[in-house]
Amino acid sequence: MNSDLALNLQLLASGLAIGSIYGLIAFGINLIYRAVSVVNFAVGELVMLGAYFGSLLALSLGLPLPLAMVIALVGSVGVGLLLERTTYTPLRNADLHMVVVATIGASIFLQEFSRIIWGAQVRQFPAIFDVKSVDIGNIHLSPQYLVILAVTAVLLLSLYLFFQRTVAGKIMEAVAQDKDTAALMGIKVNRWTTVTFGMHGLLAGIGGLLLAPLFLVFPTMGFLVGMKGFCASMIGGFGNMQGAVIGGLLVGLVETFGAYYIASDYQDGFAFIAVVAVLALRPRGIFGEPVAEKV
């Protein structure tokens, strides 16, 4: 196989892998936005905490990796719920801007908290497979990319089935569409809001565990990842579920190919430039839900 093609396929695989994590995070962001009409600036810190929990449990406590991951995800759900209790619940009757600002406060707090508790140094994360790379012809892929792609594919499929086929999914959809009517139908809206925050924490935590072997673990690892999740959500179309996934993959690809072919120094900037480009062409994002106001 010609080496240019192999290289491009490698870039494609890593772009899709990173992108599917952004998609996962964007999915969680949209979940919250649809349920309670706010955006959570601390989503990146949920990602970071998921990674920390996994790293601490597996490496510092020496738990077997699968058990460590399960406990880490329980912890991530817990942090999601804590975030609801501290930033959303007390402020839900105030101007919703206040909730968003409170999540910025939470983002600062969680970053600094983890720096104080665990130090600023970069931590390792155990590799899931011992193999260095998977070779197909002369394409060398990191096994972690394949893990990421497989996990997110399964996860997104189950989320799709959850929202389409289960009563719980339908209830969450009803709450997202119209809280008052849902409440009149006997749905306990506040309880389901809590479920949404838990799911938000879970998705971010999974993102963190998947990213950790690639990015390593440190207090500020999540912030930009969270922001790129927002980029994905804006590109795909605000609050649109398929849009989140497509947007995430697009951000991942733009970033990976841009870093290789245009300028690696500007890798972290491409996602934001992509947002500006997409919004200039399609102010509502790719899937057409109103992301922008007409000006």
């Binding site: 501290t86 009757n93 105030a94 968003v100 600002v101 910025i104 983002s107 600062i108 500007y266 500006v276």
Partner: protein
């Protein structure tokens, strides 16, 4: 004696204290005060865009950097005087702010904050990587000191007065803007864009103006920073500054210019005066923001004025003047139960 006179006397005492401050403290304290002054201007800029016009912006650090780099380039490479470089830098930052935020303005409310994070991240990358112009990670040194005729403003003590003058200008400018036609349009935009539009306010122009003003302030702050430190590097103008400035504004009170002043000064002074908190202060601020929002969304200034209310009343009564009502009015209706 009337309350107004008491206020005037208090302001006068405060002004005299500020004027003699650099003469009675050491070099380092003056340096910290100068940094605080620069941050006050930055935070006042954030007040104009977010506090007044409700446009969430997290790119203040980028505009600050544009101002600082512009001044460095204009003074070093073109040999311009500081008095020309400062307005040019502020205008450059304002134009940049308006141009880059043009696409961001289309985005709905909370997502605007995200889009401005993008502006900040890209600007930081440019400062770091555009080596021929910005010097890259090495930064730019040897920025000349400003001069008034033969008088060179070089020591931290001299710069203190320079920054004090501009900080005062920025503060009174923001106060004046708040009650001007522009300020009223901004407030209308914040409270209800649709109603504002219906009332004949050009909301696009107002949004752009709000961003432009915030960037103008930040640009001027950058210019002052450049001649205070004489050396600038990209890591100063990071996203963390934008977030910190946002925190300062909320800490002091985001709906009043006084909040920007108090927030910026306290957030700069606390880590300096409470060294043992050094490690914890940002975490405490993060938690503090949430607590303030939940228990007292108007910020520290209004909390302080509530706490000092009995004292002020007592002074007023002792002096035999009429007892005034709360001076700093924050409309609670705009904070609670607002737009849903």
């Amino acid at each position: 004696m009337r309350e107004g006179t008491v206020r005037r006397v208090a302001v006068g005492i405060g002004a005299v204290c500020l004027l003699i401050f650099p003469m009675v403290v050491g070099q380092y304290a003056v340096h910290v005060a100068n940094i605080a002054g620069v941050y006050v201007i930055l935070t006042l800029g954030m007040y104009l865009s977010f506090g007044l016009a409700g446009q969430m912006s997290l790119a203040q650090g980028a505009f600050w950097g544009i101002g600082a780099y512009s001044t460095a380039l204009l003074m070093k490479n073109l040999g311009l005087s500081f008095w020309i470089a400062l307005p040019l830098s502020a205008v450059a930052a304002a134009v940049f702010g308006m141009v880059v935020c043009l696409p961001a303005i289309r985005v709905r409310k909370f997502y605007l904050g995200m889009a401005t994070v993008g502006v900040q991240v890209v600007a930081s990358l440019v400062f770091m990587n555009w080596v021929p112009v910005t010097g890259g990670a090495n930064g730019m040194g040897g920025i000349p000191a400003p001069a008034i005729g033969p008088l060179v403003i070089s020591s931290q003590h001299d710069v203190f007065y320079l920054i004090l003058v501009f900080t005062a200008l920025a503060y009174f400018g923001a106060r004046r803007l708040r009650v001007s036609r522009i300020g009223r349009s901004c407030e209308a935009l914040r409270e209800d864009p649709l109603a504002a539009q219906a009332a004949g306010i050009d909301i696009v122009a107002t949004k752009l103006l709000a961003f432009g003003l915030a960037a103008f302030y930040a640009g001027a702050a950058g210019s002052l920073y450049a001649v205070q430190i004489h050396y600038i590097e990209p890591k100063v103008f990071e996203l963390s500054v934008s977030v910190a400035v946002f925190a300062m504004l909320f800490f002091g009170g985001h709906r009043i210019p006084e909040g920007a002043v108090v927030g910026a000064v306290t957030l700069i002074l606390i880590p300096e005066t409470l060294k043992f908190l050094q490690n914890y202060y940002m975490a405490l601020y993060g938690a503090g923001i949430i607590l303030l929002l939940v228990y007292h969304p108007e910020g520290m200034v209004s909390l302080l004025s509530r706490w000092t209310e009995p004292i002020r009343r007592a002074i007023s009564r002792r002096l035999g003047g009429p007892v005034s009502q709360e001076r700093i009015a924050v409309r609670p209706d705009s904070l609670i139960g607002g737009q849903r």
